[in-house]
């Protein structure tokens, strides 16, 4: 299929700049829109606030100098000059967003990556890896690729795909990048966080992965709109996209219960724009949810710490964590390998931009399975019209479907099962309604008889198996048993190996918790399923 013909990166960037600038200029001062000067001022204000907390590096200094110049000019700028300044700001943003992107190296990078990660295991530096390509063990050893793989392989030939995974770790982008390669799919465009580019380990890979840059610390509305426009234009050009609709990594450990509608709506915008332009009606957009289930999470410790510290403030972004330290990676991957633990990447059923189920042939289905023509959701008086208020609601519905799909396709693993059952036993014993006090009161002295936990695990297994039969969750192979002892043993091995101190340990007939916060983190993966009649331990949608 001929895709993306004539849309090289330069043209996409130019198109984004032209549209964004045109929209700002058209909107300024009319219909209650702010005057151009106010738009620029607003941008400067947001950027200034961001730079207060930004690291003092070359990038920040260059941004600072640019803002200083704009600020000096603004009071004397003619309206003609103001237009130029808007253009300069948008151009700068687009430059940063597209800065690292080079689709030509995609294929090369994907063939290096699998060896690269395994190389890390042996403690090599990224550059040294290149010399060690042959003979290294494969990433496949860590990864189980499941679900609607064949449907996805078909859909990439029938339209533009947005892959929408859950987000628990910075490893996600690398694993998904590799999974895309393994499935034999064409390149996907990534919206990768800036930290992946500045991180010494991943930057090497990210620069080669067809990734554009997302800087989540930028609050300037002009930046966010430009970013969305960029994703939209790439999709209009037929480039498949990957982004994490949940935004940042889950800090509680729970599967994301909410998604950010901004980027998710780009798929609908692209679909609509193509229809409005009278492009081929077969130019479809498919959203494919996907789950990544880790037996252990590389950054669990700093994620949960920041969750507990900052519950209620969602703007907190973890920067300094295990992710930037090579030896943590080595420990992590070695841990997975030693215990033969696998990360499950599970491809969900595809949706259209309105949240309708899509079959393997790309046909949208209504809730009762009847085929429908999704273009008609955009019709008024027989033709496609633009209506932002309507489209936001469609995107909201899509977001709900994505979240439901994540819950259904999440794979429960022994580490979470043990953590959930054990914390539930402790919670009942301690009878402390305040979460933070409860976690603090768990110490090495609060041992629990292993037999109690095993019985609780067996109850939990029965409930999980019923949920799996109802299609509400997935279980890893090892959980299709009634043997609580075995699951506890495997959970203990997992929770004992990677973290600085073991999360739980068996001492005689007792299970002893050494890190209650991490126990809480792994337990939360099973939050929201109503298991064991346990209450929610923190408000739904609390800072993630």
């Amino acid at each position: 299929m001929q895709r993306a013909r004539g849309w090289d990166e330069v043209r996409i960037g130019d198109e984004v700049i032209a549209r964004k600038v045109q929209r700002v200029l058209a909107g300024a001062g009319v219909d209650g829109g702010r005057p151009l000067g106010a738009v620029i001022n607003d941008s400067l204000y947001h950027e200034r606030r961001r730079l207060l907390h930004a690291p003092d590096d070359e990038r920040s200094r260059s941004d600072g100098a640019f803002h200083a110049r704009v600020r000096r000019e603004l009071p004397h700028a003619t309206s003609e000059r103001q237009r130029e300044l808007v253009r300069e700001i948008v151009e700068r943003y687009v430059g940063e967003i597209t800065g690292h992107f080079d689709p030509r190296v995609y294929r090369f990078a994907t063939s290096v990556l699998p060896y690269g990660l395994s190389g890390l295991m042996q403690g090599f530096s990224p550059t040294a890896l290149l010399n060690e390509l042959r003979g290294a063990s494969r990433l496949d050893d860590y990864l189980l690729l499941e679900g609607e793989v064949e449907a996805l392989q078909e859909l990439v030939t029938r339209g533009t795909v947005v892959l929408a995974p859950t987000h628990s770790s910075n490893l996600d982008s690398l694993l998904i990048g590799y999974a895309i390669f393994r499935m034999g799919l064409p390149p996907f465009v990534y919206g990768a966080g800036l930290n992946l580019f500045t991180n010494p380990i991943t930057s090497f890979f990210m620069h080669n992965l067809g990734a554009y840059t997302v800087d989540r610390s930028k609050t300037d509305p002009l930046y966010r709109e430009t970013l969305k426009e960029y994703a939209t234009v790439t999709m209009e050009a037929g480039q498949h996209n990957l982004f994490f609709p949940g935004g940042t990594r889950s800090r509680s450990g729970e599967i994301e219960a909410r998604v950010k509608l901004g980027l998710l709506g780009a798929g609908l915008a692209a679909y609509r724009n193509n229809l409005l332009r009278g492009k081929d009606v077969r130019e479809r957009v498919f959203v494919v949810p996907c789950t990544i289930s880790y037996p252990l999470v590389l950054e669990a410790a700093s994620l949960v710490r920041s969750f507990l510290q900052e519950t209620g403030k969602s703007a907190y972004i973890v920067v300094d964590d295990e992710f930037s330290r090579v030896h943590r990676w080595v420990d992590f991957l070695r841990g997975l390998a030693e215990l033969d633990l696998r990360v499950h990447v599970r491809i969900g059923r595809a949706l259209d931009p309105f949240g309708d189920a899509v079959d393997a042939q790309g046909v949208s289905r209504d809730p009762r399975g009847r085929p429908i023509d999704p273009r008609r959701y955009l019709f008024r008086d027989g033709r496609v019209v633009e209506d932002p208020a309507r489209d936001v609601e469609y995107t909201r519905a899509l977001g709900r479907r994505v979240v439901e799909s994540w819950r259904r396709d999440s794979v429960a693993l022994p580490t979470s099962v043990l953590a959930f059952a054990l914390l539930e036993v402790l919670r009942r014993d301690l009878d402390q309604p305040d979460l933070f006090r409860m976690l603090r009161s768990i110490s090495v002295d609060t041992g629990v008889a292993a037999v109690l936990v095993e019985a609780e695990v067996e109850k939990l297994l029965a409930e999980l198996q019923a949920l799996e039969r109802a299609g509400s969750i997935q279980l890893s192979e090892g959980l299709r048993t009634t043997d609580g002892r075995d699951v506890v043993a495997r959970g203990l091995r997992g929770l004992g190996i990677y973290h600085t101190t073991p999360v739980v340990e068996r001492r005689g007939g007792q299970l002893v918790v050494l890190d209650a916060d991490l126990l809480f983190f792994y337990r939360n993966r099973l939050e929201g399923y109503g298991l064991l009649g346990a209450p929610r331990l923190y408000p739904a949608g609390a800072a993630r």
Binding site: P367, Y377, L378, F379, R390
Partner: protein
Amino acid sequence: MIAVLGAGNWGTTLSDLIASNGHAVRLWTRAPEQRDEINARHTNERAVPGLRIADGVTATSDLGEAARGAEMVLVVIPSQGFREVSSALGEVLSPEQVVLHATKGLERETNARMTEILLAETCARQIGVLSGPNLAAEIARKKPAGTVIASRFPHVIEMGRRALSCPRMMVFAGDDVTGVELAGALKNVVAIAAGAATQMDLGENGKSLLVTRGLAEITRLAVAMGAAPLTLAGLAGIGDLMVTCASPLSRNHRVGVALAKGERLPAILANLGMVAEGVYAALAARDLARAHRVEAPLLDGVYRVLYEGLGCEEGLRELMTLPAGRDVARFQSTS
């Protein structure tokens, strides 16, 4: 062209109103004799005695003929038949069509709201609810009234306004679909209590106490289910409650009166000859209050009078001897 599904008294009255505003209306009814009466004589005597239905209304008993190509479909079907009709509607509906419903009830067994049923059974997305203090008999006699349309889609509200708004009908807008639907359904349970209070001659003080506490209960419950608290203070909440609790015309009110006379439910329903939504809503209210851990002694009392043989006097005594807590709940900001 606007389709109205259901030729009961509210469906027929709404069809007349919409056609009076100059729109063509296709009114769907299952009963062929009702269809023929409407088309031949422009009356629907069983549903709305004395109404001369506007000329723009054409009746049909073919759902596809009614709904296909309609700019807006207005569903006015009792809650217990709502899913069946929705599922048939799903066979003929196209994604661009707007669907509005005017049913004040919850489905038995599932406790589903009507928009939830529409979303589950059809491809419709641009949907909304019409609710408020609207006694069909008064509107059929061209008396002034106000109503609210709640939808997340401005276009749906716009369409609804175009169809309904006129000098005798003010149409207000809202986006709290859950709140408006729950207000409309749950207030019927309070209306039953108010009917009983009237019959028991409690006096205006006692009646006001009952209705206000009833409002507090349905507000708590609705908010627990995601409604905005102030929705219950609007036309669909207090507005509708005032009408149903004051007017002997209201069916639910009549059920309450009969209960206080000591009549049994099956006999009451047989005499009424129409659906009283509150009778089902009382079941849903009890389930939902339990599920959401909301205290609702008055709603629970109505349930027990209806289904467990509790006497009205006994029920009242129980309510009056409960410890009195806060008058008005403190709601957290929902934003």
